[in-house]
Amino acid sequence: MLAHFWVAFIAFAAALVLGEWQMYVRSPLHGWVENPEHYYRSVTAHGTVMRYVLPTLVAMGFGYAITELSLKRPLIGLTWAWAGFWLVVIGTVMAATPVALGHASLLYTFYPPMIGSVFYYLGVVLVVVGSWVWVALMSINLRSWKKENPGATIPLAMFGNVAGAYLWAWTAVGAAIEILVLILPVALGFKDTIDAGLARVLFSWTLHAIVYFWLMPAYIAFYTIVPRAIGGRLYSDTMGRVAFVLFLVFSMPIGIHHLFADPQVGAGFKFVHAVFTAMVTVPTFLTVFTIVASVEIAARLRGGKGMIGWVKALPWDNPMMLAVTFSFVMLGFGGAGGIINMSYQLNETVHNTQWVTGHFHLIFAGAIVIMYFMIAYDLWPQLTKCRPLSAGLIKVQLWTWFLGMLVMTMPWHLVGLLGMPRRMAYFDYTHPDIQAQAWTVTVSTIGGFVLMVSGLLFIYILAVARKGAAEPAPFTFSAAAHPGERTPLALNGFAIWVTMMIALTVVNYGFPIAQLVSLKETSVPAVRVGGQ
C-alpha cells in the first residue's frame, strides 16, 4: 500500500511542476514558448500522470487498505496485488518515456487520428491491466468474506470500494476497445487510416465515468472517515450505499455530453446523455446532505445549539473539518460549472474553452485530490507506524491548496466565458482583443505556483514523518448514527446494479456505436506525431 501511495505522490509532484511550467510559459510573464511541441509534451505528461497514474494508484492502495481494515482480515492474493502494482509502474515508465522523448504528444485523451509511439499506448494498457488485477482482487476478497460471514452486512467502506472497482472495470472497456481495435493496428503500422469518429465515441464511454472512479476514494472518505475524524456519527449508512449504487448505474452511459460538438452523433442521443448526466447530481446532493448532517451531529455532540449556531461548535481546528469544507466549496463551484457543461445548449458557450479546464481542476484537483491528501494523512500512521503528523503543517497545506486552486481556476472560468480556448501553447497578448485578458493568465499562474508549493509541502509532510511511535491506535471507520439500521439486501450486493449499469450502457451507446461501425468510408488518414 505504501508503495502505491509513494509512486502515486512522486509522480504527482513531477506532474504538478510540469503543470505550473505550462501556466508560466504561456502567461505574459514569459515570452512565447519557442517550440509549442514542448508545451504539448508537457501537457501530455501532466494529464497522463494526474489522470491515470495518480488516481489509479490511490484507488488501488486505498482499496487494499479498506479491504484489510474493514473486513478485518489479511488481503487474499498479496502476490497478485504486487503483480498489479508492478504492471502499473512498468506501464507508467513505458508511457512516460515516449512522452518525454516527444514521440507521443497526444494529450492524455489520445485524439485520433493523431497517432503516437506504440509504447505510449501499450504503457497505458499496462496501467489499466494492472488496475484490473486490483478489481479482480477486490471482488474475490469480498466474495470470500461473504462466504465466511453469510448474511452479514458488508461494511460501507468496502461496499463503496467494490462499487468503485466494478465501475472502473466496465468504464475502462471503452478506451480498451479503442486502443486495441482502432489505435494499435495503426500505431504498429498495419494500417494508415483510422475511424476517428468511432474512436471518439468509444473514448467518451471511458472519459466521463473515469472521473467517478477518481471520485470514489474521496466519497468513501466522506462517508467513512470524516465523521469519525471530527468526532461525529455517520447520519445514514444506507444513504451512502444508495449514493454508491447510483454512481454505478448513472456514471457510465453519459459520456456523449463530451461530444456535443461532434457531428457523428445524433442530437437525440446527445439529449439523452445530457439527461443522465444530470442524474449524477442526485448521488452528489445525497452525499452533501448526508455529510452535512453527519457534521451537524458532531457539532451538537460538542454542544452546538440553534438552527445555524451549531456551525460555530464544529471542530474548526481539525484538519479533516477544514478539508471537507474546502472540498465541498470546490465541489459546489465545480459542480455548478459541470451542470453548465452538461447542458446541451449552455455547453455551446463554454465548449473547449478554459472554462472546462477550470471545471475539472476544481472538481478533481480540488474537491477530490484534497481528500486524497486526507486519506494519506489519515492512513500514514497505520502504514508507517510514524508519530502523529504535524497538524499545523497539514492545515497550511490544505489552506494553500484551497486558495491556490480558487486563484487558479476562477480566472479560467471568467476568460472561458469570454471565449479563451483551452490547450493553447501561447496567446498573442499584443492583439487588442486578447490584451485585456492577459492579467487573468498571470493570476492563474500565481495560483498554480501556490498549488505547486502546497503539493510539495504535502510530500514533505509525509516524507519527514518520523518513525518510532508506539503501536498506532487501531484504525476505525465512522460509526453510524443509528447502529441498528437494517440494510436492505439489495444494497448489500451488486448484481442488480451492475446489471442496470450494463443495460443502460447498451441502451445509450448501443445504437451510436453500431451505426458508426456499420458506416462505410469513415476512416481518415492517421497523423503520426513526433517524427515517426
Binding site: W32, E34, N35, P36, E37, G151, A152, T153, P155, G189, D192, V249, Q264, V265, G266, A267, G268, F269, K270, F271, V272, V275, F276, M279, M424, Y426, F427, D428, H431, D433, I434, P483, G484, E485, R486, T487, P488, L489, A490, L491, N492, I496, M500, L504, V507, F511, P512, Q515, P525, V527, R528, V529, G530, G531
Partner: protein, 269 residues
C-alpha cells in the same frame, strides 16, 4: 452490524428497475420525439424522419438531387515512401531518368541557382506527390506537365528515390543564425496562421511537406503568391492556401527570404 433485511428488498429492486425504465423511456421520448417536433429541420418530413434524424441517420442528407461536385485539388494519397525502403536499382534507374530530363533546370546534383526548387535530399513522398499532381493536371507548369506526362508510376518512384538519396546541401556552421521570423516560429494564432516550422521542419515535420532550407527566394515567393490567389491548389485540404491568404506581401517576402538564406554562409546572399 445488523443482518440485512429481506422482506422489503425485492420491492426496492422492483422500484429501482421500474424507475430506471420509466426515466429512460421518458428521456428517449423527449429526445427523439418531442424536441425534434419543435424544430422544422427535424419535423418537416414526418415523425419517423424526425426520429431517424435525431438518431443521427437522416433518411436523406439533403434536398439537392445531384450532390455538388467538389473541385478536386489532388488525387495523391500520401504514403510514407521512406518507410517502405528503396533499392539501389530504383535509385540507379532514377538517376538515369534525372540525367535525361531534370538536370537541365534542377542542376546536376539536384541543386541549382536557376530559381527552380532544389531537389537534393528532398523527401521522396514530396517528389512523388508533385510529379503525380503535374501529371494529372492538378498543378500547372508548362514544362513540368509536359515532362511528367510521359512518366510511369515506377519512373516517378525511382526519381523520388534518386533525389532522396542525394545529400542535402549542408547547413553551414558559419551560416546566418539570425533568429527566425515570428511567423516561422510561432505563427499568428489570432489570424489562424500555423508556424511554418510546425510542418516544414524545426518543430515537426508532416508527411508530404518539403524541406525548404536554401530554396530560391523567388521560387518560394512565387509559390506562396500562387497559393494565395488560388492559382496553385494542389495542397490537400487547402492547408497552404488557408495559411497564405492571411499573410501580407511583406510577410511572404520575409519568410521566403528567411528560408532562402537558411544555412547559407554569411556574405553569400
Amino acid at each position: 452490524m445488523a443482518a440485512p433485511h429481506d422482506s422489503s428488498s425485492s420491492r426496492y429492486v422492483q422500484w429501482s428497475v421500474l424507475l430506471l425504465v420509466v426515466l429512460t423511456l421518458v428521456t428517449l421520448l423527449v429526445g427523439f420525439v418531442w424536441l425534434p417536433s419543435a424544430h422544422p429541420d427535424f419535423s418537416a418530413q414526418g415523425i419517423w424522419a424526425a426520429i431517424c434524424r435525431a438518431a443521427g441517420v437522416p433518411a436523406k442528407w439533403s434536398e439537392a438531387t445531384e450532390p455538388v461536385k467538389p473541385r478536386i485539388s489532388t488525387r495523391v494519397v500520401l504514403a510514407d515512401v521512406a518507410r517502405s525502403g528503396t533499392s539501389q536499382a530504383a535509385i540507379g534507374h532514377g538517376a538515369t531518368l534525372a540525367l535525361q530530363q531534370c538536370t537541365m533546370c534542377h542542376g546536376a546534383q539536384g541543386i541549382t541557382a536557376a530559381d527552380t526548387p532544389n531537389l537534393a535530399g528532398q523527401y521522396p513522398e514530396v517528389i512523388v506527390k508533385q510529379l503525380v499532381d503535374y501529371k494529372n493536371g492538378h498543378r500547372t507548369h508548362s514544362l513540368m506537365q509536359a515532362l511528367s506526362a510521359n512518366l510511369a508510376d515506377d519512373d516517378i518512384h525511382n526519381l523520388a528515390a534518386y533525389y532522396a538519396s542525394l545529400p542535402k546541401p549542408r547547413l553551414d556552421t558559419t551560416a546566418d543564425d539570425s533568429p527566425p521570423p515570428a511567423l516561422v516560429r510561432v505563427g499568428d494564432p489570432v489570424r489562424n496562421i500555423a508556424p511554418c516550422a510546425s510542418c516544414h521542419g524545426g518543430i515537426d515535420r508532416k508527411l508530404g511537406t518539403p524541406w525548404l532550407e536554401q530554396m530560391p527566394k523567388r521560387y518560394l515567393e512565387e509559390q506562396l503568391h500562387a497559393f494565395a490567389t488560388g492559382a496553385r491548389r494542389n495542397d490537400s485540404h487547402a492547408q497552404m492556401r488557408n495559411v497564405v491568404r492571411q499573410m501580407t506581401k511583406e510577410e511572404i517576402a520575409e519568410v521566403s527570404d528567411f528560408y532562402a538564406r537558411r544555412g547559407m554562409p554569411t556574405g553569400d546572399r
